[in-house]
């Protein structure tokens, strides 16, 4: 049979362990290095699937930067009414 003293002792140990669990927190602060972006990497626009969103008219090959640029260049001409009027 477990004595009351042992029960209290084991309870105290458990409470102490639970309290110590808070010390196991992971480091949340980023170690900054001056002049170097260390945030999340960004996806490049041409790595997206064309036509993935509504009302998209631009077409390009996924992963091909040149085709994405060409699609944007042609879309740019919508801002040029001199070519639209002719």
């Amino acid at each position: 049979m477990i004595s009351a003293r042992k029960l209290i002792l084991s309870g105290a140990v458990l409470v102490a362990l639970a309290g110590l669990a808070g010390c196991g927190e992971k480091e949340q602060v980023i170690a900054y290095q001056q002049g170097k972006y260390q945030g999340k990497p960004d996806t490049r626009p041409w790595e997206n699937e064309p036509g993935a969103s509504l009302y998209t008219t631009s077409k390009w090959t996924k992963g091909d930067k040149a085709s994405w640029e060409a699609a944007l260049r042609s879309r740019n001409q919508n801002q040029n009414e001199y070519t639209r009027a002719e």
Partner: protein, 208 residues
Amino acid sequence: MARMKFLCDAERCIECNGCVTACKQENEVPWGVNRRRVVTINDGVPGEKSISVACMHCSDAPCMAVCPVDCFYKTEEGVVLHDKDMCIGCGYCFYACPFGAPQFPQAGAFGMRGKMDKCTFCAGGPEKDNTKEEFAKYGSNRLAQGKLPACAEMCATKALLAGDGDVVADIFRSRATKRGKGAEVWGWGTAYGKPDTPQQQAPKGPKS
């Protein structure tokens, strides 16, 4: 290589604030934050000039230089973006920017300054493209959809141009040479074109 730039034609801008509204709507920018605004010089005086201003996505951006936590980065297509998870809202970028582009939401208690928000050239941020998380933090990512910034595409007079710097410069150059200069840029003929034939005589006869 594409280098994304804005160009505002002061001869065409009519201060309608359509670009400001388009930006607000597209990115669901919170109250008190203006990623884009229209500035007017000599307001109310004949010949006043207006220009739409936002982040200019500088080639050598001062905001990037002064940021103490280096939360800024520049994409391959020349767009200056930042990571809001790293931003500490110190406001250094606001003092460094010559255009007043960095904005700080003040929705918290005691006018607390939140994380910086600015024009993203409709290119989102470092979250996964076109996700809810990206939209909540940075707004729409139109470049990833093959579109150009909403402000420029919505501009009624096409005063605000956005896109590859070379293409935008070509459009502006051809426009500037065709419309002439000085007094030539004013009036009906410039806005709507000159008639091919001389003006017709008014019909004669009694007025009805």
